[in-house]
Symmetry: C2
Subunit: 371 residues, 2 copies
């Protein structure tokens, strides 16, 4: 937006508008891409089929009240002309776009991507398209901007894949008629939320390690501003407390493998650390590397468990025991929830949890015997 020299980019100045560029007396107007008028309209089909446009519309929408015979003729005419309903006109008339907007901060994490993919697939099955709105930087301003773009961008609903603290209701202008569903959030009281059962999964991870005989479990946590990271850390704490084990100091990364490597140094040098629960698989990968570099064998000396079950996890050294997240299910439920909300069938808010599954591989084992 740095090139705009005039007033501000106001409501009326859509991001894509020609804007105040290429102006001046007699200036050629901006070379707006122009589609050739090449498609047949309903009227054309109607003419060819010898019926009214309304009948074509009925056939097009599968409405009743048309003879099988007429229907056939109209279909033939459609085929002949290569007719495709004009979605703009349809949207204008119906007041809905059959499109769901997805706002996501980054596509760098497996979870977001897999969820997005599932959303797109489920949406397609329901006859909805998905419009993607990636955010450059996760600031409230960006989020707000994305929402306003979305609004004029022809969507009926929005799914937000994002830490919700960015979604401060006070500042984000949520268009009243656009339904919102949030992934990965604790705001079940304010929004409809679909999320993985972070708590249950973590609990299972901790229990698994404890059951193997470890005295306690260390935690390589995700970034502090992440809700998912927070939940996993909380659940880890709760599980240990409940089992009456001591609570080791928390170690933090930023989800990346690199950060797991850096943060893991601290764990690698501690003899008493025999079991680590990493908040995601990537950080576990980095951890595996530091441990290796410090000569600590996994799982003989140290057990490591991850979270996510990314495809590569089975190829780590050693193959990683981790908690499988069902992102496909999360995406599916998001779409269902948002459609239900649009139809005003569902509850206004509340959280839906998708369970995880413990995948046992080779990175966990009983602790080394007392030496």
């Amino acid at each position: 937006m740095e090139t705009v020299e005039e007033a501000a980019a106001d409501p009326g100045d859509p991001p894509g508008a020609p804007g105040p560029v290429a102006r001046g007396t007699g200036a050629a107007r901006p070379p707006a891409p122009r589609r050739a008028r090449a498609t047949a309209s309903m009227a054309d089909v109607a003419r060819l089929a010898g019926v009214s446009a309304q009948t074509v519309s009925r056939v097009s929408n599968g409405y009743p009240g048309v003879t099988e015979e007429t229907r056939r003729q109209v279909r033939a005419a459609m085929r002949e002309l290569g007719y495709r309903p004009n979605s703009a006109a349809r949207a204008l008339k119906r007041g809905e776009f059959r499109t769901i907007g997805v706002i996501t901060f980054t596509l760098a994490t497996t979870g977001n991507v897999r969820t997005l993919e599932a959303i797109a697939t489920s949406a397609a099955r329901e006859g909805y398209a998905v419009t993607l709105l990636p955010l450059a930087v996760p600031t409230q301003d960006e989020v707000r901007g994305a929402f306003s773009r979305l609004e004029e961008l022809a969507v009926d609903a929005v799914i937000v894949i994002m830490e919700v603290h960015l979604l401060d209701a006070a500042t984000v202008h949520l268009p009243p008629h656009v339904q919102v569903v949030v992934v990965d959030s604790d705001a079940g009281d304010r929004y409809t939320v679909v999320d993985t059962d972070q708590h249950g999964g973590t609990r299972e991870a901790v229990r698994h390690l404890l059951d193997l005989g470890h005295r306690t479990v260390w935690h390589l946590a995700g970034p502090e501003d992440s809700f998912a990271a927070m939940r996993r850390a909380d659940a880890w704490r709760a599980a240990l407390t409940e089992a009456g084990r001591e609570l080791p100091p928390i170690v933090r990364g930023d989800w990346s493998a690199e950060s797991g490597y850096r943060a893991g140094r601290e764990l690698a040098v501690r003899e008493e650390c025999t079991a680590v629960f990493a908040a995601n698989d990537q950080m576990a990968l980095g951890l595996l590397r530091v441990l290796h570099e410090h000569g600590r064998r996994v799982p003989e000396d140290v057990s490591v468990i991850g979270f996510d079950d990314i495809p590569e996890a089975s190829s780590f050294l050693p193959p990683l025991t981790t908690l499988h997240q069902d992102f496909a299910e999360v995406g599916r439920l998001c779409v269902q929830a948002v459609l239900r909300k649009m139809r005003q069938e569902g509850p206004e808010r509340g959280t839906t949890l998708v369970p995880t599954r413990l995948v046992l591989r080779s990175s966990t084992a009983p602790p080394p015997g007392p030496r």
Copy 2:
């Protein structure tokens, strides 16, 4: 589509149409999600500002011929009413949607995702939205289906991230007015193609290993039906031949780390294999694991080089030397190309290559001395 009992899903039967469900005499009509008529229209703004709708339109589009004074008033009215241009009406009137469709087979590979992200970001900057069309299975039928959905799905252009052999021009119905740009393809003679410089990158990889003193370089290739894999294999062959080295038998995976592990067994048992060029980082990861399991140290006994430079590559054991692909640039160029085509400014076809960059880490070294 299994619930449709009537004829086939014809052109006139959009995937999302209410269809022949919920019918019958006097049956309540399907509970179509309905948006409340809540937004202000141009007419409302015009009334409040005391001008004509046309003037509002001019302001909204930043067109000239409006006094600064009037413009201010209109802007004020827009703000007061929370006016947002109705994109459906706008699209109907203008005949363009300002939306780019992206067809992609899978979001499971880093490359596709990163490219998609870059496309979405670049498109947003140009005032275009991105509609995502994932394919369940990569068959011609699916591709064809995706295209026809896309067409009625309100897009002005399409970017295809896919092996092009699925895009057989004979069967895919490409709407004449929709421009197409393809990523990862050799069809520069038929489409506009943007791709990473597979050849140059591979060449650099092979040269790097040869320069280190290896007698030859083995290749862990991608699946046969992948164009990128084919190109990399070809370039590997060419580079070796050119250097007058012997050509070891090719070993093949399917891009996944797991497949790299399986295929890598063959390499791990060959004493004479001291350098391997893996067609992507994931397979390199699997390869690292088999090598480790067979007691062959990397890089002391065997050098491994990957392709892609995924974020995790720096955390592999050892950190992976690889070829960095600039997916962001690929995405950006795709958008530029497709916009240029829409404006009929660019060439109809041809290939644009994005160079790679060799990232030196710890998985390559001179071969072990003769024993």
